[in-house]
Amino acid sequence: MSALLYAIADGPAPADGADLRFVGDGPVAVVGPPDADATPDALRAHMRTVSELMRDRAVLPVRYGTQLEEPELERLLQERREPLAAALDRVRGAVEVAVHARIAAAPTSEAASPRSGTEYLMRRAGNVDPRLLPLAAVARAVAPAPRSDGTRLAYLVDRDRLAEFVGAVRALDHAHPDLELVCTGPWPPYSFSEGWL
């Protein structure tokens, strides 16, 4: 029987794994019984499970609804062991925070040239309002949020800088009355785990 895949994570399995099983001996796959139906409650429960895993280990969340037979999963973990370990290293100790900017009016001036690699990446994320650039300085990485048009960004933020990041969002929102900012999280690093397994 196939299992629902929640995440690739640091091993080993926790002492109390509830209904979850941990497959593999390097980076492990965290699996559980398939959901009968993708109700809003099931989706929230899924996110809660991945968030709880993230408390004491690095996780690469897997797109919801992914089911695999266990031998196939073990083969993939073996084949992809090194890139998975490297991807876990990149997100370890950090959480994802989403920032939405509803812009009431277009910014009045063009931004200066990007001053850092992070700023450059942010420009590449789309038509990003230059007034959001200070947030990148508090983050480890920036990515366009899924299905983003440039007004929704995902930031990978060190866990111990989360309060500082939210403070920076608040300060920007207060400084720019025509920006309406919403910041959500902390999420597992869904926007920093993309790629094929």
Partner: protein
């Protein structure tokens, strides 16, 4: 207990608006983010048609809000 959390919302937005944005973030992460296993990108659930319909309705209502 709700999973999704609003860390900050502009006081210029309604509380309902901020909640919708937060729900959109939850759905976007689960359904459009994360590691994709080759050949496994369909939603593997029992009642696929209903699921598609429900999620499409939720996403379109949230997007309409965001476009306002």
């Amino acid at each position: 207990m709700s999973t999704e959390a609003t860390l900050y919302a502009s006081p210029r937005l309604s509380a309902a608006g901020a909640r919708q944005v937060t729900l959109l973030d939850l759905l976007d992460r689960l359904l459009a983010g994360g590691v994709v296993v080759f050949g496994q990108i369909r939603l593997a659930v029992a009642d696929i048609d209903l699921v598609d319909l429900d999620l499409a309705l939720v996403l379109s209502s949230v997007e309409k809000f965001l476009e306002r």
